[in-house]
C-alpha cells in the first residue's frame, strides 16, 4: 500500500493543539496545518476501497495519510513513520485489530481511533480496553470521522508552568509529565488529558457527559463507556490499589472527581 509522508523528525502534537480546538467547534473545512505542518494519520485497513476513500477524505481535510493493509505491518509502519494518529480498523487479516491495538499501545501513546463495524458492547469495550482512545462505528459520515480525529489531535492547552496536585501525584502540565514521589508515570495523551481535566477542578464532580465533552470533544451525548473504560485504564496506572482508588474517585450515580491532594 501507499505510504506517502516523508520522515519528519519532530512530533506534531503541539503544532496542532491550538488549531484543533477550533477545528472541532467550527467544523473547519480548511487544512489541519499550522505553521505549515500537516498532521499525519496512519490508516490501518484491509478494505482497499475504504482505505482509498479515507485517504481522499482526509487529504481533503488537510491531513497527510499513509495506508497499511495488513495488521502485522502496522507496527513497523508506526515505528518508521511516527504518525500523529492511527486510524485502525478492528477487523483485519493477519493480525486482529485488538491485538494490533495492544501492540501499538505497548510501545507508543499515539492516539488511536478505531473503526468498528460493531456497536456491540463487548467489541467496543474490548477495543477501548486494549488501548483505543475513541471509536467510530461504520458507517460513519466523513465529518464525524474528521471531528473525532481532530478532537484526538487537539491537546490540552497548558498554561506556562502549570503544576497540579491530585492525590499523591504531581502533574506538570506543560511538561506532559505525571510524577509520584519524583518517579514519572507513563500515560497516553488521552489519559493525561483526563487526569488534568479532573485535577484542574479538584472539588468538582464531573459527570461522564461533561468529561466526554471536555476530554473527547463530543458536543452531543455519546457513549459513556468511553469514560468508564478509560477511567479504569487510568486507575490501573496511577492508583496504588485500583480496587480502592485514591486519585480518581467514583461519585456513585453522578460521575468522577479528583482525590484530595
Amino acid at each position: 500500500m501507499e505510504r506517502q509522508f516523508r520522515p519528519v523528525t519532530e512530533r506534531a502534537h503541539t503544532a496542532t493543539s491550538g488549531n484543533g480546538a477550533w477545528a472541532v467547534r467550527e467544523r473547519a473545512t480548511g487544512s489541519a496545518t499550522m505553521l505549515g505542518m500537516k498532521a499525519r494519520v496512519l490508516v490501518v485497513d484491509d478494505d482497499p476501497a475504504l482505505a482509498e476513500m479515507l485517504t481522499i477524505v482526509l487529504r481533503g481535510e488537510g491531513f497527510d495519510t499513509a495506508v497499511v493493509a495488513d495488521g502485522a505491518r502496522a507496527l513497523p509502519a508506526l515505528r518508521e513513520l511516527k504518525p500523529d494518529l492511527v486510524l485502525l480498523d478492528l477487523m483485519l487479516p493477519g493480525m486482529n485489530g485488538i491485538d494490533v491495538c495492544k501492540a501499538i499501545r505497548s510501545e507508543s501513546g499515539v492516539p488511536i481511533v478505531m473503526l468498528t463495524a460493531k456497536s456491540d458492547t463487548v467489541d467496543v469495550v474490548l477495543g477501548l480496553e486494549s488501548g483505543a482512545d475513541d471509536y467510530v462505528v461504520k458507517p460513519f459520515k466523513p465529518k464525524e470521522l474528521v471531528a473525532r480525529i481532530r478532537a484526538r489531535l487537539r491537546r490540552t492547552e497548558a498554561e506556562p508552568s502549570e503544576v497540579l496536585q491530585i492525590g499523591d501525584l504531581t502533574i506538570d502540565v506543560p511538561g506532559h509529565e505525571v510524577l509520584r514521589e519524583g518517579r514519572p508515570i507513563q500515560l497516553t495523551p488521552l489519559e493525561f488529558d483526563l487526569l488534568v481535566a479532573l485535577a484542574r477542578k479538584p472539588r468538582q464532580v464531573f459527570t461522564r457527559e461533561v468529561l466526554l465533552e471536555q476530554v473527547w470533544g463530543y458536543r452531543h451525548a455519546a457513549d459513556t463507556r468511553l469514560v468508564n473504560v478509560h477511567v479504569q485504564r487510568l486507575r490501573s496506572k496511577v492508583e496504588r490499589d485500583p480496587e480502592h482508588p485514591e486519585v480518581v474517585l467514583t461519585v456513585r450515580g453522578v460521575g468522577y472527581k479528583a482525590g484530595p491532594p
Partner: protein
C-alpha cells in the same frame, strides 16, 4: 361468670391448636405417599386381624365347649348308672333320703366309678342329687350338693323328665364362675329324682383367656410388623420416586446435565431410563438452540461488518460528491442530494434491523447504572428539537422537581424516549407533544402524549409491530424505519418494564413507558395512568379521521407519479440530516 371467660379462651385455644395440628397433618398426608400407604395398610390389616381373631376365638371356644359337653354328658350317664342301683328302693322319709343321697354322692366322689377314657375330658365335677317331688311336701327340696347353683330353668326341664345341659354363671367366693351343668332325671319305682353334675369351666375359661390374649398380642405384633413392612416396601418404591422428583426439580432449575441413577431393570429403572432419555433430548435441543443463537449472533456481526464496510465507502463517496454539488448541473446535484438522503435512511434501517435481530437472538445485555432519568428525558428532547421545530410540534416536558434515580441502561432508555418523542412529533399534526414523568418507590413512568389523529380501535397493539404504519398516506417527517417502536418495546422488556399504547380517533395517542427502579425487578404498578382524562371539546376533530381511508387510496394510485420534491415542500435533506 368470672371463670367462664378463661375457660372459653382455653377451649378456643385448644380448638385452634387442634385445627392447626389437623391442617399440618393434612399437609403431611397430602404430600407423603409413604404415610398414606402405611396408614391405609395399617387400617385394612387391623380390620382383617380383628375379624380373623374373633373367628378364631369363637372356633376355639366352641370346640372347647363341645368337647366338654360330650364328656360331661357321658360322665353324667355313667354316674347315674353307678348310683341308680343304690337308690332303687328308696324310702320316702326325708331323713333317710338325705342319708342315702349323701352316701350315693360320696360313692361318686370316692369311686370315680364309670370314669374311663371317654369321660376323661370332663374333669372335676360336683354332683347334686335332688328329689324333685319333695319340694311341695317339705319347705325345701331334699337334696345333696349345691343345688342352688343349678339354674331354675334346667331344674324344671329335668324335673319334667328331660335331659338337659346349660352353661350358667354364678357368684362363688365373690367371683363370677361359669359352670357347665348337666341334669338327668333318675326315676325309681317310688319317686323321681334328679342328678345334676356341675362342671366348673375354670380351666376352659382360662384356656379361652390365654387364647384371647395370645390372639390380641399376636394381632398387635402382626400389625406392627405389617406397618414396618409396608413402610419398608413403600420406601423402596417412594425413595426412587422422590429421588426422581429431586433430579427433575434440579433439572428444571437449569442443571441440564442432571441424570437419574439407573439400577436394575425394574419399573423404577425404566422410569429413570426414560427420564434420562428425555433429559438428553432436552439438553440436545437446548444445545441446538444455543448454537442457533450463536450462529445468529455471528451472522449478525458478519452481516454488520460485511455490509457496513462497503456502505461506509459509498457514504463517504456520496458525501464528497454532496460537498461539491454546487458545481454540478441541476439534475446531477439533486441526484447527489437524494443519494445522501437515501443513504441516511438505508443506514438507519440497517442499524435498526441489526439491533432488532440482536434483540431477537437474545444476545443483548443491559449495562445498568444509576441514572437520573430526567437527564435522559432532556437529552432525548434535545435530540428531537430539530424535527420538533420543523414539524411545529413543541415538546412540553413535565418532570419531577427532585432527581429521579433508577438503575437502567441509559443508552437504551434514551433511545426509547427519543423514539417515542419522534413518533409523537411525527403523528402530532403540529400540536404540542407532552412528556410526563413520575416515580414511585419501585417504578418510574413516562408518558408521551400527542394530540394528533390518534389510534383507531385495535391499533394500540399494532403500533409495536414491525414496519407497521398507522396511515400509509401521511407524509413522514422523521423518515422513521418502522422499527423504532418495536425496538423500544424490546428495550423496555429487557429492563423488565412495560411499553404500552393508548389512542382514540381524534384524541391523539399516549405511549407509556414503565420501568422498575432497581435492575432485575419486575414492574407491578405504573405511577402514571395510561389513558388521559378526555375533554369533550376534542370530539369536534373527529370528521378528520373519517376522511382518511379515502386519502389512502388516492395516494396509492398516484404513487408512481410522485414528484421528486416532497408534497409539502419541505426539503427532505434538511430534516433528515438533523434527525440523525
Amino acid at each position: 361468670m368470672k371463670f367462664v371467660r378463661p375457660v372459653v379462651a382455653k377451649a378456643q385455644f385448644l380448638v385452634e391448636e387442634a385445627r392447626k395440628r389437623w391442617t399440618a397433618f393434612g399437609d403431611v398426608w397430602r404430600r407423603s405417599l409413604q404415610l398414606r400407604v402405611v396408614v391405609s395398610t395399617l387400617a385394612l390389616s387391623s380390620a382383617v386381624v380383628f375379624v380373623l381373631g374373633m373367628v378364631l376365638q369363637m372356633q376355639i371356644t366352641n370346640q372347647l365347649l363341645s368337647t366338654k359337653d360330650e364328656a360331661a354328658v357321658r360322665q353324667a350317664m355313667a354316674s347315674r348308672a353307678l348310683i341308680q342301683s343304690d337308690l332303687v328302693g328308696l324310702n320316702p322319709g326325708p331323713d333317710s333320703v338325705q342319708t342315702r343321697f349323701q352316701s350315693a354322692i360320696n360313692k361318686l366322689a370316692v369311686g370315680g366309678a364309670g370314669t374311663d377314657a371317654t369321660t376323661a375330658g370332663a374333669g372335676a365335677f360336683e354332683p347334686v342329687l335332688a328329689d324333685g317331688q319333695g319340694a311341695s311336701s317339705a319347705g325345701r327340696v331334699p337334696a345333696v350338693g349345691p343345688l342352688d347353683d343349678v339354674p331354675r330353668g334346667l331344674r324344671d326341664m329335668v324335673e319334667n323328665g328331660g335331659e338337659a345341659t346349660q352353661i350358667h354363671t354364678v357368684q362363688r367366693g365373690g367371683r363370677p364362675t361359669t359352670l357347665f351343668v348337666v341334669g338327668l332325671p333318675m326315676s325309681t319305682t317310688a319317686r323321681s329324682m334328679q342328678l345334676y353334675l356341675i362342671f366348673p369351666l375354670t380351666a376352659e375359661q382360662r384356656t379361652a383367656e390365654v387364647v384371647q390374649s395370645t390372639l390380641a398380642v399376636g394381632g398387635v405384633v402382626l400389625l406392627v410388623l405389617l406397618a414396618l413392612i409396608a413402610n419398608l416396601v413403600t420406601r423402596q418404591v417412594v425413595r426412587p420416586v422422590r429421588q426422581a422428583a429431586e433430579v427433575a426439580e434440579r433439572f428444571a432449575d437449569g442443571t441440564l446435565h442432571e441424570r437419574m441413577h439407573v439400577v436394575g431393570e425394574d419399573d423404577v429403572a425404566r422410569l429413570a431410563e426414560s427420564f434420562n432419555e428425555m433429559a438428553e433430548s432436552i439438553q440436545a435441543q437446548f444445545k441446538q438452540l444455543e448454537e442457533f443463537g450463536q450462529l445468529q449472533r455471528r451472522f449478525t456481526s458478519d452481516v454488520s461488518h460485511e455490509l457496513r464496510t462497503p456502505l461506509t465507502t459509498v457514504r463517504m463517496a456520496a458525501d464528497v460528491l454532496h460537498a461539491s454539488r454546487e458545481q454540478f448541473p441541476a439534475g446531477l446535484a439533486r441526484s447527489t442530494e437524494l443519494l445522501v438522503d437515501e443513504l441516511d435512511r438505508f443506514e438507519s434501517l440497517l442499524g435498526d434491523l441489526l439491533e432488532i435481530s440482536r434483540l431477537d437472538a437474545g444476545v443483548e445485555e443491559l449495562t445498568a447504572e444509576q441514572v437520573d432519568i430526567r437527564v435522559l428525558a432532556r437529552r432525548a428532547h434535545d435530540s428531537v428539537r430539530a424535527i420538533s421545530s420543523s414539524a411545529g410540534s413543541p415538546v412540553v416536558l413535565d418532570l419531577p422537581d427532585s432527581e429521579l434515580v433508577a438503575e437502567l441502561d441509559s443508552r437504551r432508555v434514551e433511545r426509547i424516549l427519543r423514539n417515542l418523542l419522534a413518533n409523537a412529533i411525527d403523528h402530532g399534526e403540529g400540536q404540542p407533544v407532552e412528556l410526563t414523568m413520575r416515580g414511585s418507590s419501585d417504578a418510574v413512568a413516562i408518558t408521551v402524549r400527542d394530540h394528533g389523529v390518534g389510534l383507531r380501535q385495535g391499533e394500540a397493539e399494532l403500533v409495536f409491530s414491525r414496519f407497521w404504519r398507522a396511515d400509509p398516506s401521511r407524509n413522514r417527517r422523521t423518515g422513521g424505519t418502522g422499527l423504532g417502536l418495536s425496538i423500544s418495546l424490546e428495550d423496555a422488556r429487557l429492563h423488565g418494564g412495560w411499553l404500552e399504547a393508548w389512542g382514540e380517533p381524534g384524541h391523539g395517542a399516549v405511549f407509556r413507558l414503565t420501568l422498575p427502579r432497581r435492575h432485575g425487578e419486575e414492574v407491578r404498578e405504573s405511577p402514571l395512568a395510561l389513558a388521559p382524562v378526555l375533554e369533550s371539546v376534542a370530539v369536534v376533530e373527529e370528521p378528520v379521521v373519517v376522511e382518511e381511508p379515502e386519502e389512502v387510496e388516492l395516494t396509492e394510485a398516484e404513487i408512481t407519479w410522485q414528484p421528486a420534491e416532497p408534497v409539502d415542500g419541505t426539503p427532505v435533506s434538511e430534516v433528515s440530516e438533523e434527525v440523525r
